[in-house]
Amino acid sequence: MASNEEILAGLAEIVNEETGLETEAVEMDKSFTEDLDIDSISMMTIVVNAEEKFDVKIPDEEVKNLKTVADAVNFIAGAQA
């Protein structure tokens, strides 16, 4: 089971791979759409890659609730627990 810091770092790598954004830009309080300019299709790609990386299931209906990076980190941490 990964710590929140490890999840954040892993997520930042995934975001970087999909969008080219610097990993440092992926901070807990950032909104995926407003701050990071990630659209719905990129978001889904990030979600699927996160599922694989962290060995969790993130259902379609949950994706809409993942508004900030913290939302995603907390969901993944909870799903791993």
């Binding site: 659209d39 719905s40 299709i41 889904m44 790609t45 979600v47 699927v48 379609d60 994706v63 809409k64």
Partner: protein, 351 residues
């Protein structure tokens, strides 16, 4: 003693003998689309890969387009309409629940009295049609089968909504499936997932529309059906883009791999990959997931045709063979997927 009756004698193999298409001539640019939705040419190209989409004018019907594609497929196959043993039209936009587009088409091209029927499998409709044509030819039920994917999606869109309408175009594509000396169509991988019936579809039903019309006849306001929603009275298409994208890429990549496996080949053996032209990002991500080698030509007809549902694969195939005639005889993986949700995939020898 019970008499022994005849049963149809089967054939071993089938293949696609010819392909044709009809492209309507109203070109709708991204700038045109931006009159209706708040967006930009750059945003749409980046997000969907669509530069223009072709749509039919009011005088060009779905049947006109289907006929154009069918005649061009017949010429490509070098057969006469009288040799056709079945006519299958895959469409979700023929404006009559009955009779079928296929029976009218058979009459128009001179294929009467061939059996003729429509299938409703949205963007998988053409691959469903090829699966059926393959079975009809190999079972001996028909010698040649005309499979047409035809859509006039512009009749069922709402230009002001932004989940799907701006992606869509009109057109028709057709193939002739017939007997072959060598395997020309691999075992079909096809199926459905009705648990996601609502992921892509119409805003409401024809019965809802009827009730609204009845209400309008008895009171001045017939819009109660859609009051408080963004929908038009006339049912139009909507989708849950995220759900569809995940399914289309990752679930469909599995089905595409299964089709290769059932064909007994690998992606290395392909000369072409012709996925349903839904969105360039779905195509790109599928290519990545399937590890399609660089040498394989990937259909990207969506850039100028938009998403034409059941018509997209045969239209893209026809275009690809016009641009790269040397691909004829090579193996192509085709996969359609869409509203239902439904999917169908085969490896085919290109005509």
């Amino acid at each position: 003693m019970t008499a022994v009756m005849n049963q149809t004698a089967s054939r071993e193999f089938s293949r696609i003998h010819g392909v044709g298409s009809f492209r309507p001539d109203v070109i709708v640019t991204n700038d045109d689309v931006c009159q209706w939705i708040d967006s930009s040419d750059e945003w749409i190209q980046q997000r969907t890969g669509i530069v223009t989409r072709a749509r039919a004018d009011a005088d060009t019907s779905l049947l006109d387009m289907a006929e154009g594609a069918a005649r061009s497929a017949l010429a490509s196959a070098g057969i006469e309409a009288s040799q056709i043993g079945a006519v299958i039209v895959a469409t979700v936009t023929f404006p009559y629940a009955t009779p079928s587009a296929a029976s009218a088409l058979a009459d128009r091209i001179g294929a009467t009295p061939a059996p003729a029927f429509d299938i409703s499998a949205a963007c998988a409709g053409y691959c469903y049609g090829v699966a059926q044509a393959d079975a009809l030819v190999r079972s001996g039920m028909a010698e040649y089968v005309l499979v047409v994917g035809a859509e006039k999606l512009s009749d069922v869109i709402d230009n002001h909504e932004r989940t799907i309408s701006f992606l869509l175009g009109d057109g028709a594509g057709a193939v002739i499936v017939g007997p072959s000396d060598i395997p020309g169509i691999s075992p079909s991988v096809w199926g459905s997932d009705g648990s996601r019936w609502n992921a892509i579809g119409m805003t409401h039903s024809q019965l809802d529309l009827r009730d609204a019309v009845l209400q309008a006849e008895s009171s001045p306001d017939g819009t109660a059906l859609v009051a408080g929603t963004e929908a038009q009275l006339w049912p139009t298409l909507r989708q849950d883009g995220q759900t569809v994208f995940r399914w289309a890429v990752w679930e469909m990549a599995k089905m595409a791999k299964l089709a290769l496996e059932k064909a007994g080949i690998t992606a290395e053996d392909l000369v072409a990959f012709i996925p349903h032209q839904a969105n360039m990002r779905i195509i790109d991500e599928m290519v990545k997931q399937l590890k399609v080698p660089e040498k394989v030509i990937v259909a990207r007809d969506i850039a100028t045709s938009g998403n034409t549902s059941a018509a997209s694969i045969p239209m893209a195939m026809d275009n690809m063979l016009k641009e790269n005639p040397e691909l004829s005889g090579g193996l192509a993986l085709q996969i359609g997927f869409g509203a239902g949700l439904v999917f169908g995939a085969q490896v085919v020898v290109l005509p």
